[in-house]
C-alpha cells in the first residue's frame, strides 16, 4: 500500500511501511474501524481518566503509608518477646537485646522523612501515618527503657548516687592518748 510520499523511489521502498499516523482526525482515516468500536467515547474521557488514575494512585499511596506506619507494631511484639526470653540477669544476650531494642526506634525516628518519601503526594495526608509511626516507635523505646530498668541498670535508687560521696570533713581535731612509755 502506498501512502502519499510522492512518486519517488516507489520501487525501492515497495516494502517500506510508514508508521507515522497522521490520521488524528477521524476524517482522514482509511482503515475501517473494528466492529463495536465507537470513536466518540475516547475524546470525552481524557481528563476524567487522568483524574481517576491520580485518584487511584493517591489512594494506593495512602494505604501504603498507613501500612508502613503500622509496621513497627509487629517489630514491637517481636522485641517484647525476645526481651522476655532474655531474662532478668545481666548477660551479654540480654544487654545486646536491650540495646538493639533501644537503638532501632531511635534510628527509625531519625529516618521518618526518608521512609515516607515514596508516598509523598499533594493529595495524600501524611501527618496521620507519620504520627502513628512516631507513636509506635516511642512505644518501642519505652519498652527498651523498661527492660533496662528491669535489669537494674537505671540509676533509680539512692544507692546508685550515694556511692560516690566522699566522707565529710571534720571540723575538730583531737589527739592524744595514754602516756608515752
Amino acid at each position: 500500500m502506498d501512502k502519499g510520499k510522492g512518486a519517488m523511489g516507489s520501487n525501492a521502498r515497495r516494502w517500506a511501511v510508514d508508521f507515522s499516523d497522521n490520521s488524528t482526525s477521524p476524517s482522514s482515516r482509511d482503515v475501517p474501524d473494528p466492529p463495536g468500536f465507537s470513536r466518540a467515547s475516547i475524546d470525552q474521557d481524557d481528563s476524567t481518566l487522568s483524574r481517576q488514575k491520580k485518584d487511584a494512585e493517591s489512594n494506593w499511596k495512602a494505604q501504603k503509608a498507613w501500612e508502613v506506619a503500622q509496621a513497627p507494631f509487629k517489630n514491637l511484639l517481636m522485641m517484647g518477646f525476645m526481651m522476655w526470653m532474655a531474662g532478668s540477669t545481666v548477660h551479654l544476650f540480654s544487654i545486646g537485646i536491650t540495646f538493639s531494642a533501644l537503638w532501632q526506634p531511635i534510628s527509625a525516628l531519625q529516618s521518618v522523612g526518608k521512609i515516607f518519601e515514596p508516598y509523598k503526594d499533594s493529595r495524600v495526608e501524611l501527618l496521620g501515618p507519620k504520627l502513628l509511626f512516631i507513636a509506635l516507635n516511642l512505644g518501642g523505646l519505652a519498652l527498651g527503657v523498661w527492660k533496662l530498668n528491669a535489669l537494674g541498670l537505671l540509676p533509680t535508687h539512692t544507692s546508685d548516687w550515694v556511692s560516690s560521696l566522699p566522707p565529710a570533713q571534720e571540723v575538730e581535731y583531737s589527739g592524744g592518748g595514754g602516756v608515752l612509755i
Binding site: 550515694v162 565529710a168 583531737s174 602516756v179
Partner: protein
C-alpha cells in the same frame, strides 16, 4: 663484743671478722619515707663510668651460661644480679613499692631499710640520744614524719622527727632530733627544758610542708614545733578546733581538754599553750580497770561514707577520726588468763568521742577477760579477748552507723545535688548513731592485729593477725561482718555475706608469712602503696619481715605474662581485614551499578 648501738662484732687478733646490726631486733617505732624521684640521664652516666665493670660482668654471665664458671664467679654473678635488679633501685617506683622504712631502735639508733631487698641504706646513732653527762639514760620513744615536700619546698629532702627522753621516769627532760630521710644526717637537735608526755601531730602543715606538732609535758602545757611565727599563725587560725584527751589508766579516768591561751608563766614563751578541762569520763574503779585503748590511724583514707546493704538500702557510716575505743576489765580479771572465775570477770568496751566526751556505744561481755588486742579502722572496731566460760579466745566486731543521715532517701535530691552530706561536720552536732556487733570464736592467741590500708581505700580490707606462733594470718573482713546470719537470703548471698558460723575459719593458705616465722613478733605496720590493689606490710619483732599483699588480688594491673605481641598482632590483622573488605565491597557496589 656488744657495742653501744646493740651491734655485735667478732674481733679476732685485732681484726673485725664480722659485724651484725642486732639493734634491729629491738625496733620501737616505724615510719616510712618516699625515695627521690628518678631523674633523667643519671643512669646512662653511671653505665658509661663503669664500662670496664660492665664488660667484666658480661664475661662472668657468659661463663655462667656456658657452665664454665667457678663457684667464686657464681657468687659474683649472683651479687651482680641482686644489685642491678629493678626492686632495689634507689628511686621512686611507679607503683609505689620502693620506699624507705625508717625504724627507731631501743638503742637510739635510726636505720633506713629499703623495701626492695631489706638492706640498710643508712644508719645513724643519734648523738643526742647517746649516753653523756647531759643525758644519763637516753631512750628513744617515737618517730614521726616531719617534713614531706609534696607541693612546696621540693628541693629539700623529707625529714623525720625523733622524740626521746633522757631518763626512765616521766619527768626526765626530752630530746628532739630532726633527721634527713635520704642521707641520715642529723639536721637539728633540740633539748627543750620541758618533758614529753605526749606528742600530737596536727593535720596542718606550714608553707615548707613541715607538719605542726604539739608536745605536751606532764604539767599539761603544750609546746608548738616548729618554732616559727608562721606556725603560730596557723595554730591561731585553728585554735578552737584542737583538742587533747588523756587516758589515765591507773586512776581509770579519761579527760578531754581544749586549747585555751598562751601559758601563764614567769618566762613568756609564745610557743607554749595552756589547756582547759572540758570533760572527763570516770570509770568506777571497783568494777572497771582500763586495759586497752585504740584509735584510728590519722592518715587513713576512706573512699565513701555510704554502705549499700541488700535491696538497695543505704546506711551511712559514722566516720570520725576523733573516736576512742576503750576496753575495761574487772579489777580481779586484769591479770593473767585463768586467775579468776567467770562470775567475777567481765569486759566492758566503750566507744567514746574524744571531742565531746560522748559515749557512743557500750557493751559488756560477761565471763571474759583480757588481754585485749584491737584495731580501729573506718567505722569499725575488731577486738580479741578471752572467753572464760567457753575456754576459747573470741573476736568481736562493732560497726557504727550514722542514723541522722538516713533520711536522705529521695533520689531526686541526689540527682540535683541538693544534699548536705559532704558539708563539714562537727562532733558537737551529736548525731544519732547505731551500732551493730557480733562475736565469733577464734582459736589462736594473738600478739598484734592490724588492718590493711590502701591509697584510696577502695580495696576490701583484710585483718592481719600476728599469732602466737609468730606468723601473720590474713583474715578477710567479710568474716567479721555483723550482718552475717545463719541462713542468708538470696539477695544477701549475692551481696557476699558469708553464712554465720560460731568460729572464724583459719585457712592455712592465708598465712602471708608462708612457711617462715617472724621470731618474737611484736608489731605489724601497713603502708599504702600507690597502686590501689596492693598494700605493703612490715612485721617486726626479733626478725623483720616485709611483703606486699593484694587483698582483692591485683585487679588493677595486667598479669606478668600478658602477651603484648599477640595484642598488637590482633590489632594489625583486624585493621588489614577492615581495609581489604572495604575495598572489596566498594568494588562490588560499582559492579552492581554498572550491570
Amino acid at each position: 663484743m656488744v657495742m653501744e648501738d646493740h651491734s655485735l662484732l667478732l674481733v679476732q687478733q685485732g681484726e673485725i671478722v664480722w659485724s651484725r646490726e642486732d639493734g634491729l631486733a629491738s625496733v620501737v617505732d616505724v615510719t616510712t619515707s618516699e625515695l627521690p624521684v628518678q631523674k633523667e640521664g643519671v643512669s646512662v652516666a653511671k653505665v658509661e663510668q663503669n664500662l670496664f665493670e660492665w664488660l667484666k660482668g658480661h664475661m662472668l654471665k657468659l661463663k655462667g651460661t656456658l657452665m664454665i664458671a667457678s663457684p667464686d664467679d657464681l657468687a659474683a654473678i649472683q651479687a651482680l644480679r641482686l644489685r642491678s635488679s629493678e626492686k632495689s633501685k634507689m628511686t621512686r617506683d611507679h607503683n609505689g613499692f620502693r620506699k624507705l622504712l625508717i625504724v627507731l631502735t631501743r638503742a637510739g639508733k635510726v636505720f633506713a631499710l629499703h623495701t626492695g631487698d631489706g638492706r640498710v641504706v643508712w644508719s645513724m646513732l643519734l648523738p643526742s640520744l647517746r649516753k653523756s653527762e647531759a643525758c644519763e639514760n637516753p631512750v628513744g620513744l617515737h618517730i614521726y614524719q616531719w617534713q614531706v615536700p609534696h607541693h612546696h619546698a621540693l628541693d629539700e629532702n623529707p625529714s623525720v622527727l625523733v622524740v626521746g627522753r633522757c631518763g626512765p621516769s616521766l619527768s626526765a627532760p626530752s630530746v628532739l632530733s630532726f633527721i634527713d630521710a635520704y642521707t641520715g644526717m642529723e639536721l637539728k637537735s633540740l633539748s627543750p627544758a620541758h618533758t614529753a608526755a605526749q606528742v600530737i601531730p596536727l593535720p596542718h602543715t606550714d608553707s615548707t610542708e613541715q607538719r605542726l606538732h604539739l608536745i605536751i609535758d606532764d604539767n599539761q602545757h603544750a609546746y608548738l614545733y616548729p618554732r616559727t611565727p608562721e606556725a603560730i599563725d596557723i595554730l591561731k587560725h585553728e585554735f578552737s578546733n584542737v583538742y587533747w584527751y588523756s587516758v589515765d589508766a591507773d586512776n581509770g579516768v579519761i579527760r578531754g581538754h581544749a586549747l585555751k591561751s598562751n601559758c601563764v608563766q614567769e618566762a613568756v614563751d609564745e610557743y607554749c599553750f595552756d589547756f582547759r578541762d572540758l570533760w572527763s569520763v570516770v570509770f568506777p574503779s571497783e568494777s572497771e580497770k582500763i586495759i586497752a585503748t585504740m584509735t584510728r590511724k590519722a592518715n587513713e583514707v576512706v573512699h565513701t561514707q555510704a554502705k549499700v546493704m541488700t535491696d538497695y538500702d543505704v546506711m551511712y557510716k559514722y566516720i570520725s577520726k576523733n573516736l576512742l575505743f576503750v576496753a575495761n576489765a574487772a579489777p580481779k580479771a586484769a591479770g593473767e588468763i585463768g586467775t579468776v572465775i567467770p562470775e567475777e570477770a567481765w569486759l566492758v568496751i566503750y566507744i567514746l568521742d574524744t571531742v565531746t566526751g560522748r559515749i557512743l556505744h557500750r557493751m559488756t561481755h560477761h565471763g571474759c577477760q583480757g588481754p585485749v588486742h584491737a584495731v580501729f579502722s573506718e567505722n569499725w572496731v575488731v577486738y580479741h579477748y578471752f572467753n572464760l566460760r567457753a575456754h576459747r579466745y573470741e573476736m568481736s566486731v562493732v560497726e557504727i552507723y550514722d542514723q541522722s543521715r538516713a533520711d536522705n532517701k529521695d533520689v531526686w535530691r541526689f540527682v540535683l545535688g541538693k544534699h548536705n552530706l559532704t558539708s563539714p561536720i562537727s562532733s558537737y552536732s551529736r548525731p544519732e548513731v547505731i551500732a551493730k556487733s557480733q562475736s565469733y570464736f577464734f582459736t589462736h592467741s594473738v600478739k598484734a592485729i592490724e588492718a590493711t590500708s590502701t591509697a584510696k581505700g577502695i580495696t576490701s580490707k583484710q585483718l592481719l593477725i600476728g599469732t602466737i606462733g609468730d606468723q601473720v594470718l590474713a583474715l578477710d573482713k567479710r568474716f567479721l561482718d555483723p550482718r552475717r546470719t545463719v541462713n542468708p537470703s538470696q539477695a544477701e548471698k549475692e551481696d557476699g555475706i558469708i553464712p554465720l558460723t560460731d568460729s572464724l575459719p583459719i585457712i592455712p593458705q592465708s598465712y602471708i608469712t608462708h612457711a617462715l616465722k617472724v621470731e618474737g613478733l611484736r608489731g605489724i605496720v601497713t603502708v599504702p602503696a600507690k597502686l590501689e590493689s596492693t598494700s605493703l606490710v612490715f612485721v617486726y619483732g626479733v626478725d623483720l619481715f616485709f611483703t606486699q599483699i593484694a587483698p582483692s588480688r591485683t585487679y588493677d594491673s595486667l598479669t606478668e605474662d600478658f602477651s603484648y605481641a599477640l595484642l598488637l598482632l590482633t590489632i594489625v590483622a583486624l585493621v588489614a581485614a577492615i581495609f581489604v573488605t572495604w575495598v572489596l565491597s566498594e568494588r562490588k557496589d560499582l559492579q552492581d551499578k554498572w550491570r
